[in-house]
């Protein structure tokens, strides 16, 4: 019981530290955002005077700073995103034990399946006994290769 209370108070501490860190981050992001807007405004002003090089410089700085702010905000939003566990589709390979037939079928895995399990269901082609010869999952996405 005491342990529970202790751990709860620790969690509260950790939450307050977390919110403090969030405030700092948001403060930094807001300052940079303000600076970037001012830089863009200056860029527009300078452009009116005809100095395109300086205007481009200010506009570039402003846009980069703004992109960085958006990236940081996006990163902190990611936490609330849903986490989904990938449950792959597993297939069962069934083969007819009749050597002359050797019919091979594939179906989705059913609970109780295992490799080398004799099945009660007869072969659709010859009526012979069937057995599970393989269970595996297909991985669709290709692994990224590096040319080294």
């Amino acid at each position: 019981m005491r342990m529970n209370t202790l751990s709860r108070s620790k969690q509260t501490n950790s939450t307050s530290t977390s919110s403090r860190i969030n405030t700092y981050l948001i403060l930094i992001v807001l300052v940079v955002l303000a600076l970037s807007i001012v830089a863009l405004f200056v860029a527009a002003q300078v452009l009116l005077t005809g100095d395109t090089i300086t205007a481009g410089l200010f506009a570039g700085i402003g846009l980069i700073a703004m992109a960085m702010c958006v990236f940081l905000l996006f990163q902190s939003r990611k936490q609330t995103a849903e986490v989904k566990l990938d449950i792959p589709k597993v297939m069962t390979i069934i083969e007819c034990q009749n050597k002359g037939c050797a019919n091979k079928t594939t179906r989705e895995f059913q609970r109780g399946d295992y490799v080398f399990k004799d099945l009660d269901v007869a072969c659709g082609k010859c009526g012979g006994k069937q057995m599970i010869t393989g269970i595996y999952k297909e991985v669709k996405e290709k692994e990224k290769t590096y040319a080294v």
């Binding site: 620790k10 950790s14 530290t17 977390s18 860190i21 700092y24 981050l25 930094i28 300052v31 940079v32 600076l35 001012v38 830089a39 200056v42 002003q45 940081l72 990163q75 902190s76 990611k78 936490q79 986490v83 566990l85 990938d86 449950i87 792959p88 597993v90 895995f109 609970r111 109780g112 399946d113 295992y114 490799v115 080398f116 399990k117 393989g134 269970i135 595996y136 999952k137 297909e138 991985v139 692994e143 590096y146 080294v148």
Partner: protein, 369 residues
């Protein structure tokens, strides 16, 4: 007089702000970097919590479904997830292997007993008990990963130490990969699907299928199979329940039964691949191909050394994620390639009439014999 260069006041303000920002970054740059790292760790910790909760939920659902408990097993599952094992003292290393072996045996028995209590309807069915135990062990691993990451995260934030957070952030991609693999393995264990680590038993079962298999200590089966004019004693953990057996004891027993008159011992296992290698690649080498805490490898090495038996290893390469999640097609197909490799080794290095021992190491979940 202006402090900073520039014609109008707005440019001066911007210049001043830029200087201020530059100074702030000089003094607080590291701290800002740390906050960004903390955010990243926090996001991953959130993911870990979701995966861990999913593990607990899956384990409870599987227990309710298969074990038909009379009361809610949740409290007992929570207790199970927190079980720990204390390694034996290593100050005097003499006899440490047998002490560790004893402790691991006790752990295994205790956990199985606990599963039987939580799932009374499945208590008589060894396959279901093994599958439930594997499911709970995956949930236990997820619980442990979450707790360790949370520990370092809180410690890093409490001390505001960049180095604690940095170390955690550096290893997080690997930790997350392992956790996600365990997460997707939960259903595989609950349903009894073969996993990547089952490739050793799958190869052994392909060799021994159709021949009479007898049980050997502990939780293993062995069959005598005619193989390329030789006699192959094929050994694997008993399936189709989730079980790795104790191949060390089983191999010791078989070698002693044969009084050491074996031409060779071949061990087949799943091996961790390096980045850049392909899943399902087959490699061969020398030595005891077996993972775990080292007890089984020690016993096997002792016995083959006693009788001066050649010990060969064949491995099917896969990464940690593949090893604990449902078996990939590439790994399934690699079984045939591994059998061919074993055939070559036997034909090249033994004479007709010899007896060889072929061991399929790994978890026999979803693989009969």
């Amino acid at each position: 007089m202006s402090l900073v260069p520039g014609s109008d006041s707005l440019t001066q303000i911007i210049s001043l702000l830029t200087y201020a920002f530059f100074i702030v970054f000089i003094f607080y740059g590291q701290r800002i970097q740390m906050y960004i790292m903390v955010r990243e760790v926090e996001n991953n910790l959130h993911k870990l919590r979701v995966i861990k909760d999913e593990g607990r939920k899956t384990a409870i659902e599987a227990l309710k479904e298969m074990g038909k408990p009379t009361s809610d097993p949740s409290a007992r599952v929570d207790r199970y997830l927190d079980y720990f094992t204390i390694s034996p003292q290593t100050m005097d290393p003499s006899g440490i292997v047998y002490k560790l072996d004893h402790i691991l045996d006790m752990r295994d028995e205790r956990l199985k007993e606990e599963v039987r209590l939580m799932a009374p309807a499945a208590a008589g069915d060894e396959v279901q008990i093994n599958n439930l135990e594997n499911t709970l062990e995956a949930a236990m691993a997820l619980n442990y990963i979450y707790k360790v990451v949370r520990h370092y995260y809180i410690q890093g934030k409490k001390t505001l130490s960049l180095y604690v957070i940095m170390q955690l952030q550096m290893i997080l991609p690997m930790v997350m990969k392992e956790a996600e693999a365990y997460g997707s393995a939960l259903k595989a264990f609950a349903y009894g699907q073969p996993i990547g680590d089952s490739v050793g038993p799958l190869i052994a079962s392909r060799l021994m299928h159709g021949y009479e298999a007898r049980k050997v200590y502990k939780d293993c089966v062995v069959a005598s199979v005619p193989f390329e004019g030789r006699t192959a004693l094929v050994l694997k953990a008993e399936g189709p329940g989730g079980n790795v057996g104790k191949p060390g004891d089983a191999i010791e027993g078989v070698i002693e039964e044969q009084q050491g008159k074996l031409a060779m011992v071949i061990m087949i296992d799943a091996g961790l691949k390096l980045e850049g290698e392909l899943v399902g690649e087959v490699s061969e080498g020398i030595g005891a191909a077996i993972g775990g805490p080292g007890v089984d490898a020690f016993k096997i090495e002792e016995k083959v050394t006693k009788y001066k038996l050649p010990l060969y290893a064949v491995i099917v390469k896969e990464d940690i994620g593949d090893a604990v999640s449902p078996m990939r097609r590439e790994i399934h197909e690699a079984a045939d390639k591994a059998i061919e490799r074993v055939r070559d080794i036997v034909k090249e290095r033994t004479k007709e009439g010899d007896t060889v021992l072929i061991v399929g190491v790994g978890n026999s979940i979803g693989v009969g014999q």
